[in-house]
């Protein structure tokens, strides 16, 4: 499942992020399964949690996210977005906000502000559209 600011990007938050965060629904001790799959895709493995895809995209694998429930529960709450011809599970902006608030790094505080702004504007825009109908 796509997580972090890449997931926020796909939902309309235009904030820069270099890494693509992918939340894996496996125990962290099974990282080898993910790494082997990456090797099959010709990715360069930097560590058990980080690979570079063949187009040099850095991908971080996360096995646990602070501030959220288990992968299964959050995946059920997550949205599905059409991307590159696939329907991919993506953490919702509210879930991303929740996890970033739990971590609380300086960069997370900025991201939380941006995500909240987008949530507020999205809500207002939907309200305006409903009124017009």
């Amino acid at each position: 499942m796509l997580a972090g600011m890449s997931a926020a990007n796909l939902q309309g938050v235009l904030a820069s992020t270099v890494d693509v965060d992918v939340w894996i629904g496996l125990p962290a001790r099974q990282y080898v399964r993910v790494i082997n799959l990456c090797r099959k895709l010709n990715a360069t493995v930097q560590s058990r949690n980080k690979v570079y895809l063949s187009d040099q995209t850095p991908v971080d694998f996360i096995y646990e996210i602070h501030g959220l429930q288990t992968f299964e529960k959050e995946c059920a709450r997550a949205g599905r977005l059409a991307f590159h011809g696939l329907k991919i599970p993506v953490l919702s902006l509210k879930q991303i906000c929740q996890s970033k608030e739990a971590i609380g790094r300086d960069k997370d505080k900025l991201h939380v502000l941006l995500i909240r702004q987008v949530l507020k504007l999205d809500k207002a825009e939907k309200k305006t559209r409903r009124k017009r109908k």
Binding site: N9, L10, Q11, G12, V13, L14, A15, S16, T17, V18, Y52, L53, D55, Q56, T57, P58, L81, A82, F83, H84, Q117, V118, K120, L121, D122, A124, E125, T128, R129
Partner: protein
């Protein structure tokens, strides 16, 4: 069959301008902030991805730019 009747999207700048017009009444944000968010909200996921990648390329930290050893 359904693929052929897909609604054709207006160009992104036009959609962003329409989105911004709908956000005009929102308080607590500057027009500059609203303008950036309007672009993000008006874009499709593919376009959003491309916008972010283009932005990274400006700072030469695009995934496609050469990694330092």
């Amino acid at each position: 069959m359904f693929a052929s009747v897909k609604r054709k999207l207006k160009p992104l700048p036009q959609r962003a301008a329409e989105m911004l017009a709908r956000l005009k009444s929102v308080r607590g944000m500057t027009d500059g902030e609203k303008s950036v968010h309007a672009l993000g909200l008006a874009a499709t996921p593919e376009e959003r991805w491309q916008l972010t990648r283009n932005h990274l390329r400006l700072f030469n930290c695009s995934p496609r730019s050469k990694r330092k050893a």
